[in-house]
Symmetry: C2
């Protein structure tokens, strides 16, 4: 590894978190890119995950589900290029070998290993390559920021850029760090995309409370993005908090710092989720959907998901079409109470919106000026239900001819 000069550009990422070491290597599953990531904490950490809801879960997902059940983990190992899904007994043994090799090389218990995979479904898992790769690369684990970036790059498949984030906040007078990486929903070749995110922090927090925070934050972030509505067999978000910041252990939601940490964790996840949408395969626009003044957050979220996931709304966004009828119709399909006659609807960008509906009636807006606004690459669709105090925000792409080309022409 060449010497890295951190003085010129200060990079902060996973490895800036106390006690975290990373590596990302090319072990030959993919032809050119790095394809093995290891994220290691010097001490066992509180751990919490969310996993795909798909009934067809990849082999590493099944193992990680078991290993995280006790709320403890120390390392995340992830390969790209092969999803190890629909691989049967051969895949199960491969994932177990991946765990065993990692545990052995690090001298830790197998139960402390979380394992993930992303890539092609249904191809035999390259167990030997992965096991050899782990043994060769564990010794390279480093707290150099470049190693964090290597890890961020090594989990990518069809993503066009690595997705990283870092933030800090103060608790009891000293800084807490959170670093995260993610990979996204590009889904060219040859199967579906996997959404992965690995987040580490040095905060001291109990595993039960961390699990709750992670679930809530995932619901408000990763679960509010849509590219094409399919959930992969491999989706996984893992959060490790190793306590090396030295704060007083947070064990209850009323404890000092919990609310702040939860918000910062959600900020990190929202940041990574938006990066995933930005890299949505074959999309030309990033669209933020806001539903405000809803009777409940659940209703607001379901509306955001139904509208952002509608093929007709997404093609309208691609076509710069102020087609409020499609938005209202998608809202009506959300499976929640929805009275469009109360609805105010605004279309445009973060900086400038035009009200197109007032209490469900067209405002007589100027179509051409709205169409001009919708030429922007970052759009905002804001639906005000005028019925309560809850709100929700989500992010989606448009549906483009390129999307269809990518997903049909690039065949297996």
């Amino acid at each position: 590894m060449p010497a890295i000069n951190n003085q010129t550009i200060m990079i902060k990422n996973l490895t800036s978190v106390r006690g975290i070491k990373c590596w990302g290597a090319h072990i030959g599953i993919k032809s050119m890119r790095r394809d093995l990531a290891i994220i290691y904490s010097e001490v066992p950490a509180s751990a919490a995950c969310t996993f795909t809801q798909n009934k067809v879960a990849a082999e590493p997902v099944k193992i990680s589900r078991r290993h995280v059940r006790d709320g403890k983990a120390q390392v995340i190992v992830c390969n790209a290029g092969n999803a190890n899904a629909c691989t049967g007994e051969q895949g199960r043994l491969g994932a177990e070998a991946m765990v065993a090799a990692t545990a052995e090389a690090l001298g830790i218990d197998k139960e402390l290993v979380l394992v993930a995979s992303t890539g092609i479904i249904g191809e035999p898992f390259p167990t030997d390559d992965v096991v050899d790769g782990i043994r060769l690369n564990v010794g390279k684990l480093s707290d150099d920021p470049k190693a964090g970036s290597f890890a961020a790059n090594a989990i990518l498949t069809t993503d066009t850029f690595a997705k990283e984030g870092f933030l800090e906040f103060e608790l009891e007078g000293s800084p807490i760090y959170i670093g995260g990486i993610a990979k996204g929903s590009g889904m060219i070749h040859p199967n579906m995309a996997t959404m992965l995110s690995f987040i580490v922090s040095d905060i001291a927090i109990g595993p039960g409370l961390l699990k709750r925070a992670v679930t809530e934050c995932v619901n408000a972030s990763f679960n509010m993005i849509t590219v094409d509505g399919d959930t992969s067999t491999n989706d996984m978000v893992a959060v490790l908090c190793n306590g090396l910041a030295g704060n007083k252990l947070i064990e209850s939601e009323t404890d000092d710092g919990y609310v702040l940490f939860r918000q910062k964790l959600e900020d990190m996840m929202a940041h990574l989720a938006k990066l995933i949408v930005s890299d949505g395969e074959g999309s030309s626009k990033f669209v933020e959907y806001r539903v405000s003044h809803a009777p409940s957050e659940e209703i607001a979220r379901k509306l955001v998901r139904a509208i952002s996931g509608s093929a007709l709304v997404k093609t309208a966004m691609f076509g710069r079409d102020p087609n409020w009828g499609r938005i209202i119709c998608a809202g009506g399909n959300a499976g929640v109470p929805f009275d469009y006659t109360h609805v105010d609807l605004y279309l445009g960008t973060e900086e400038e919106q035009v009200q197109v509906l007032k209490k469900g009636s067209p405002t007589g807006f100027d179509r051409n000026s709205v169409k001009r606004l919708l030429r922007e690459s970052h759009l905002l669709v804001h639906l005000d239900m005028n019925e309560g105090d809850a709100e929700s925000v989500g992010w989606g792409t448009d549906l483009t001819t390129d999307y269809v080309m990518f997903n049909s022409v690039y065949t297996t």
Copy 2:
């Protein structure tokens, strides 16, 4: 109206059903095409409907829901070109005027009128044109088959052809007729598509039992098709059975002829549903999805819907890609128990399929020969769960670059 020679080509449709008269007129809502359909029974009929599940229901849907509650109706009046949805008070009054004009012109009770609309959402309803059109055209109601075709054409919007069906079967030694029309899910300009179907029969059947048959048959037919997953504000299926065949009134599912009628009604609906898919906007393929040996019909249906509705499966069909991973992944997202390790999967056409998975493992099939098969315009995807005796069939389109172009470039 010019004289029509029925001797050369024998057309059978709605008007071939005893006591049914139709008309379809151009009243000027649409620029060139017929846009008002009337389907009338000489006597009040048992009636049953299913309606859109969209929370934003069009004004005519609200009225028809009320009018069909007593299980009786005598006429269906439908305009195309304006959906009368999101039109508020003006639209409600318009739909009521449409009903009143029809009832008055026919000298029947308003409660016997079912009303439907399809077309643009959110534009003021052209009440005067529609009311005048009804008054002018009621007198033209005819049992000539051409009048049935006029009606079939007058409910179309962006459909590229009229969808009609007719069948007969024997009960108690005399023929029973069923005729039906439908319009489909083309959704170019400028809002979402509406699915409408109007079916008439001369069988004598009680309204309670008819309601049950209609619900079951709609679930097995119209509810098993997908073009783009959105449900319109105006969807409606209406069935009138006027009893003029003179059979003994069917009032219980154990009565003679019920099972036969129910099957024939499902056949008619499946015929019309498949025609709708064939006319799916911007699609290049018609795909039949079969799930067999499922633990329950409900599970089979949910799997068919999840797989046929997946954007990734649909783009794979467009790309002639034997991408079984996408199909299994979509199955895993159906929200039902799904063990892919039991699954046999076949891809191809009705005439020739290739087994690509056996108990969840790739069969080592020849990709190129499957890709050649997938060049056909009518495809079959057959997933055998090997878990029970239930099955389900559904129909869908592929997702094409043309679909995106149609739905984005043709703006409001």
